[in-house]
Structures are given as C-alpha cells and as structure tokens.
Amino acid sequence: MLLKRLSEAFGPSGCEGEVRNILMEELAPHVKEWRRDALGNLIAVKGSAGGLRVMLAAHMDECGLMISSIDRSGLLRFRKVGGIDDRVLVSKHVIVGSKKISGVIGAKAVHLQKPDERNQIIPLSGLYIDIGAKSKEDAEKLIKIGDYVVFATEYKALSDTVVVGKSFDDRAGCAVLVEVLKDEYALDIYGAFTVQEEIGLRGAGVAAYAIEPDLAIVLEGTTCSDIPPSKEYGYCTTLGQGPAITIMDASVICDRRMIAELVRIAKDHDIPLQFKRSVTGGSDAGKINQTKAGVPVVVISVPCRYIHSPISMLNLTDFHNTIKLVKLFLKSIAEGGFVL
C-alpha cells in the first residue's frame, strides 16, 4: 500500500531521495514529464491545454535527527532536523544513516533519578543514540557524522479506518497528490513534491518560482489534538470529520474564493469538511502565496494526531475524502465553474 510505503520511507529534510523514488515509481504509468530542480523538488507535469496553470504541492520531507558527533564510547550525539519536541525522543528505536543501522535512544534508569528529575524534560544534551558500538572506531565502521536518523516505526492499521505510522505529515499529502495525479484534467497540472518544508518551507518557494502557477493547492497532513486533556476549543481539527481547510496559519491567509468553492463542492457532494481551528504553524502555502507577483493558494489537509512524533494517526475516510474533494475541485476549475 502506497501510504505504508511512503510512511516507512527514510526522508528527513535534505534527504528526500527514497521518497522521490517511490513517487516516481508509483506515478510512472500516469506521468510522462518529470522535472527536478537544484533543491531536489520533484515536479510531475501533466497536460498542455494552455489553460490555467495549477500547482499542487505536498512535501516529501519529515522531521528527523542528524548525527553530530561520536563519543569515545561509541555513543552518537545528534541534532534535530525540524520541529521535534525533546520529550518524544526518550525510549525509542531509531534508524541511522544509509546503511539503516538500528539504534536506541535510552534514558537514565528511574532507579538512579532524584524524584524531581522525573518531572523535568531530559535536554537534548543528555540524549544520545546507542547502536551497540563499543568504541568510536567501532561506530565509524557503521555510520558517519552527518548521517540522518528517522524513527523505526511500522505502519499499522488499528481498525478498518484508523491507521498509525510515522511522518503522515506529509506523506499523507504526498499519497493524496499521487492519487489525484492518476486522473486527467483539462488543465496544466504541476504536481510538486517539495523538499525541506520542515526546516523553513524551503522547497516550495523555488518550485513555485519555476512553475509560475495561476493558483496553488497545498496538501498536508495537519495537526489534530482532539484528545484529553485538550479542551474542544483547542482541537485544531477533529479526526474523522473530513478534510480540513486552512483559512489562515502563521505563514499564509488562504484565498477566500477558493475556500468558498471547496465548501460548495463539499456540500453538493456530501463530503464532510472542517476548518482548521488554529492559526499556528506554517505550510508550503506561505511561500507559494508570495512567489513572484503572488499566487492565490488554499491548504487542504488530512487531520493527523501526534504529528512530529514517532507515531501519528489518521482516518482513512478523511484521507479518501481529501482525494475526492481535490479531484472535484480540479474538475470544477477546468470546467470554468470557478473564476478567480
């Protein structure tokens, strides 16, 4: 299954190659023209109707870690790639470098702690990866400084509709985009799988500059906090209540006309829809929106619980409804039912 392959792929910001290969393989029967740029963005080009140029974007990269030094004892120190909360790192299995070496992030035994220590966060400086190397030289045979690290999380189904895995932010968006690109539209479609979103929306801007889209749709796996002890006003999105439309986040204010059309389509086709109810965080839309003389954008997301942690959760009905909504939106644009 594509979402499983994408979720389990190794691809922190700046190291998206494995994800890129999966995407090209999956889309080979449907995409004739591929573009790649200096940063590693992968752009699928479809149609040459001379019509509207529509950019669809989903980022390939995930949050991860990078090896920064090796202790004499063979333990590995690391830095964070993207926004990871230090608190999710403790007691985890990770995969290091291109040889995919297993490692663990441990913690001092509870027996050796003072009682108040258990209420304090273990700082990054107190964490390291243990790959079982017995010395620095031993470790250097298996890994090198600068190697990327991801969590060793397997994709699993908890029920017919709920699945868990790592990096649904934004492999869920990538999977949506793949499904959307399998259809044909009377539009010039640019399917941009972008790099380096997690470290500052780096890929999307240069991709949009080259594409010069008339409008853009960003596909995301977005935050969802509909769990205790969050209060309902802090949920941001709710799992299972449909695709989430962003009105505004820290990086962008989305195009009102596009939002209105999405709401209309959802209503006409009985697709559940929700608005993202927080304005924190950014997305590729922020960069695309401000490219060249400006691009109208909208963000459509699959709600995902526990993003930026070793394991996230999404609802497959939300996922399929997101695909459906995006496809209908593109058809509506092509049919001229919607004018900017």
Partner: protein, 350 residues
C-alpha cells in the same frame, strides 16, 4: 535453543507482575528441553529441576524474575480514551509518543500520544508530561473500546526485539528476562559437564512489586544455596562510573551483607579458573533483587547475586550484551560443577 532467540521470544511476550502467564509458557517450553522436570507453583513461578549425579543430595536454586513493569487501565474516558496507572517503577517520561498494547479481550494496539509542538502553549513546554495527563488512544469508537477493554486490563509498551551492532540487543523487559536466558544458558552448559548438585532454575514472578515470587519459591524448594541473577546499571553518560558496570565485560558479581562471603569467593575463583571476565559490585545494603528475599527464607539461605550490566533500565529500549548472558551462564554452570557436600556444609561454619 540459542539464547538470543529465546530472549527475543520472551521479550516480545507479555508478563506484567502478577500476570506472568504468557511469558511463563515460553519459558516452560524452553526449560523442558534441558531439565528433568518443570513445574509451576501457586503464584506462577516456573521451576525447572535438573538432578545432580551421585547420592549426595545438595541443592542450589537459581532465580531470575520473568515479570516486567507495565500499566493498568483505570478508566475509559469519553471518546474511548483510556486512563492508566503504573505497575512497578515506570518513568513517566518514557511513555510519551509510545506504541502500546492493551491486553483486553484481545491485544489491542494503541498510542500514548502528545500534542504536536505547533499547538503547545508556552507553559506546556517546560516540564515533563505527567502520567495522569496521558491517555491511550486506540483509534476506535467508544462502543468498540468498551467491547474490547475493561478497567483492570494490562498494558505493555509494544516493542519488537532490536538487534544492535555486534552482540548488543535492545527491547523491553530485558530486566530480567536476559537473566532467564542466563538460566537456560547455564542448564544447557550443565548438560555437558558433571555436577553433583540438584539444580532448581526458577523464573520468578512479582519481583518488580516486591520480590514476592522468590520468597515463596525459595520456601518451597528449600535450597542449600541460592543465587539470584538480575541486571545492574551498565556504563552510560550521565551516571557516575562507580555506580555502573562496563558492558560486555562479563557478570557483575555482588558482595556485601546480602551475599554469603564464601559464595562470592568461589564465584570469583571459578571465573578466574575458566578465564571468564567479571567485575565486582559492592552492595552495602539491600540489593533490591530476589537475593534479598531468598536469604531470609526459612532458617536462612546462603545467597549470592550475579548481575548483567544493562543500560536504560525500565525503559522500552533496555540494552545489553549477549556475550554477558553467555559468560554468566557459563560461570554459573562451572560454579555448580565445583560444589559438593563439604562446600555446602562449610557455608554454615562462620
């Protein structure tokens, strides 16, 4: 069976204190391949007996606990989220963003998640998340949760066995199933060498909640020598070197009030004789292991303690060296081969 394979089978099985049955089944099967008989007592201790040669009836008991720390469901919240408490000494910080198994009507996978960094308020970022504020998310509607889960169900971290570089391995419940693997290693070694003592290898229950399995099994067996095999803290950054033992350098042999001095001396002699590396663990007071309970059973039992260096104790990535498992098993086998009636009688002469 290869001890690494045995250890993998054990740590991927469940056996929270008081509910050791699933892992006990795995252990019984493995012990049956090398023991004369295997039985289970009232509390669930698995006792394998391997008879010695000759007419001198001397007995030695080896104890390693098979129970693990875990959690228990206390409430099903609105939305189907589960509240829980700890069984045994759990560091709440090791539970965040963890996959867990809720052992309900069937094993149900779930997540202990946390709010993404995007939504955290400034006051939420400064401290560890408290266990009382965590929930288990099964991703199921509450009606389905209630069909599968009831208050009192057990929870363990879902952590498949991890093979690290060299001979290091990692996973949950290595404390103290790595020592149960030592028991098997020892029994296998004893098939190759002659020994006079009857050996009782016991996988004990309820150590993590108070050394309870060792207490009753020692009473039942009434051994003349008791040796507990447990884990100690392996060397790691952030912990003073003097509180740890080096990894891969053999068993850590304890001495102190919990240890009969002649047993300690003999263990060290045997290690030297067979070129088995070892380190020394001075234990000034309570050892916090099954040895503590064994020593004061009935009219008293001469007791020793041998430990495997292990990093990250009571996390789900407890790490240790398989070389230490093997060398500890050999040490115990050669120790057992070295004892006879006069040695046992000498233990009572102070």
């Amino acid at each position: 069976m290869e001890s690494k394979e045995f250890l993998k089978l054990m740590v991927e099985q469940t056996g929270v204190s008081g509910f050791e049955n699933p892992v006990a089944e795995v252990i019984k099967k493995a012990f049956a391949t090398v023991a004369d008989d295997v039985c289970t007592d009232v509390l669930g201790n698995v006792i394998a007996r391997k008879q010695g040669e000759g007419d001198e009836r001397i007995s030695i008991m080896l104890a390693a606990h098979m129970d693990e720390i875990g959690m228990m469901i206390t409430k099903i919240e609105e939305g189907g989220f589960l509240k829980f408490i700890a069984i045994g000494g759990i560091d709440q910080r090791t539970l965040v963003a963890q996959e867990v198994k809720v052992h309900g009507k069937r094993d149900v996978l779930g997540i202990i998640g946390m709010k993404p960094p995007h939504l955290l308020s400034p006051e939420e970022v400064g401290a560890a998340i408290k266990m009382q504020d965590m929930v288990i998310d099964l991703g199921l509607p509450i009606e389905q949760v209630k069909e599968l889960v009831t208050v009192g169900d057990l929870v363990t971290v879902h952590r498949p066995f991890i093979a690290l570089a060299g001979d290091f391995v990692a996973g949950k419940a290595m404390d103290d199933r790595a020592a149960v693997a030592v028991l098997l290693e020892c029994l296998q070694e004893l098939q190759k060498i002659r020994h006079k003592a009857d050996v009782y290898a016991v996988a004990t229950v309820q150590e993590e909640v108070g050394l309870r399995g060792a207490l009753v099994s020692t009473y039942h067996i009434a051994p003349q020598i008791g040796i507990a095999i447990d884990v100690c803290h392996g060397e790691m950054p952030g912990v003073p070197e003097q509180d740890t033992a080096p990894m891969g350098k053999g068993p850590n042999i304890a001495l102190g009030a919990n240890i009969h001095p002649k047993l300690y001396e003999r263990l060290v002699e045997v290690a030297k004789e067979h070129n088995i590396p070892y380190t020394i663990d001075p234990v000034p007071g309570p050892s916090g292991t099954d040895a503590w309970a064994m020593q004061v059973t009935r009219s008293g039992v001469p007791t020793a303690l041998v430990s495997l260096p292990l990093r990250y104790m009571h996390t789900s990535v407890e790490t240790l060296s398989m070389a230490d498992v093997k060398s500890t098993g050999r040490l115990l086998a050669y120790f057992i081969a070295s004892i006879d009636k006069s040695f046992v009688e000498g233990l009572l002469c102070y």
